[in-house]
């Protein structure tokens, strides 16, 4: 991981067979305004695409978007794959339409935290909230 003396580096992307690009662009823009170094790998990204980009850029966090309702399936094993690739300590964040249908958010969040994500966000979360949490979770050294 970087020493976070300078900008915080985040890898941002949309996981799986998912073409939803609008939220991704908005999030990238909001993060850049707030001084983050954004490595946006865009739509149709696999877990491996996120992890490869994280290693090459010494990223501090992975911001995983999943908008198509298949998040639970697509995110399975993400933390384990990070550990396997030598970036097991990376800050892992997920958000979007993570599950199909109306489900109780607390339970959904619990499932994703149990999977090894540090933060999980429900649909419609404000980028401001995500950015405030990132600043709190990844203080500059």
């Amino acid at each position: 991981m970087g020493d976070r003396k300078g900008k915080i580096t985040v890898v941002l992307g949309v996981l799986g067979v998912d073409a939803h690009v609008v939220g991704n662009k908005i999030m990238a823009h909001a993060l850049e305004i707030e001084g983050f170094k954004v490595v946006n790998i865009g739509t149709f990204s696999s877990q491996q695409d996120f992890i490869r980009a994280a290693i090459e850029t010494a990223a501090d966090a992975l911001l995983v978007g999943s908008l198509c309702g298949h998040g639970e399936m697509e995110c399975r094993g993400f933390r384990e794959n990070c550990i396997e690739a030598g970036v097991g300590e990376i800050h892992l964040v997920v958000g979007g339409n993570l599950v199909v249908g109306k489900q109780n958010w607390e339970e959904v969040e619990k499932r994703f935290l149990q999977m090894g994500f540090n933060r999980a966000y429900p649909p419609g979360v404000s980028p401001k909230q995500v950015i405030a949490d990132l600043k709190k979770d990844l203080p500059k050294g």
Binding site: V11, A19, V39, I55, E56, T57, H70
Partner: protein, 461 residues
Amino acid sequence: MSLALLIDFGSTFTKLLAVDLAAEEILAYAQSCTTVETDIMVGLRRALDLLPPHLQGAPYECRLSSSSAAGGLGMITIGLIPELSAEAARRAALGAGAKVVKVYSFRLSTRELEELVGLKPDILLLAGGTDGGNREVILDNARLLAASRISCPVLIAGNKAAADEVQSILSAAGKITLLTDNVMPEVNVLNVEPVREMIRKIFIERIIESKGLKKAEEFVGGILMPTPTAVLRAAQLLSQGTGSEKGLGDLVIVDIGGATTDVHSIGAGNPVQPGVVRKGLPEPLTKRTVEADLGLRYNAGTILKLCGEGRILQHASLFQKDLAPRLEKLSQCVEVLPQTAEDQDLDFALATCAARAAMERHAGSIEALWGPQGQYYVQYGKDLTGVEHLIGTGGIFIHHRQAGGILRGTLFSPEEPFSLRPKTPNLYTDARYCLFAVGLLADRYPESAFRIARKYLRRWN
């Protein structure tokens, strides 16, 4: 009359082309075996003796040459992630005309380091980390290389936040180092030009001498570039044109040789069908791929293994039992030119298979994915379906009467709609073997070089 003598010290043959620049005419072509093992000048003189007498001692305005003798420009590239900086470094080296002997990624292991030293590259390209990204791995690799017996120049093109330290570590250990911009400054951003330019500089300043070509350089006045770079330069000139000559636009050149088959493409290769998303490392506008397993002589046996007897026998009039021994003989006697119609047919069959496989590997592909919202198409590599011009170069295209057929075999097929090979390009062959010469002349005489290429390329459709 303003004469130019263009020379290519090839791996097998030394080729000469005498050109009248004022009249924009090819006057003569000659070739003889390359003699780099003993004295490069012997083969050159033999080839010169084969020119018409009035051209042997003519007052040439310039003598320029390219070389792929003594194994070509052998490079090893090192990056961090195989699909990112290691791939970016590999592409930069290929685009500089190098033969990429091996690509390493992540931290080098002891075994890899031993192998690397044993492979004796001419240049080592050390990359890894985006600018401001991972520093540890490139620094560790620098320390490992510093402590190794590697003696070739090391070109550093990685994370700029680590590059100075990398250079200090290597220089302190007495290694020859050169520093340039990061070949992948950000994820999925390629920056190959500074690396290519630096490789060309090292080639001229250091490699010529270490390959035993210095003597030849005194005669020719300058070995400017590796042979593949000359062909790539010709491709650029033809595609982009000059001040007064309009370029042809996007094009592909297939170069079939005894040891490798190269494919060069000029063009962005963006998706042409709506709704297709492009993924992966971006492609350089000027892209070269080298297929080291597809050569008509050294690798005749490999072509058989790859394409199967059926495909080769489709074009060659041979008995099945004779095929393997014939190919074995070809791979042992690499200087043999086809003598009989049967020999020519076999070469045609091998070339057709090699060109087809090389084009398939060079061209991009489409993958169909199903998601909750339906089907999506993702493109990897370049879409070459709309390319307007396809050119074949190499000995087979001079000698064979149906050489255009080799190119036809590389085209798009509706049975494989996801392989983005050219659909309906104009087909040309380099029937006078002038493309390397055009590349050599491109910087000094771009207008004449462009028109000579146009004049002597033979159109097949």
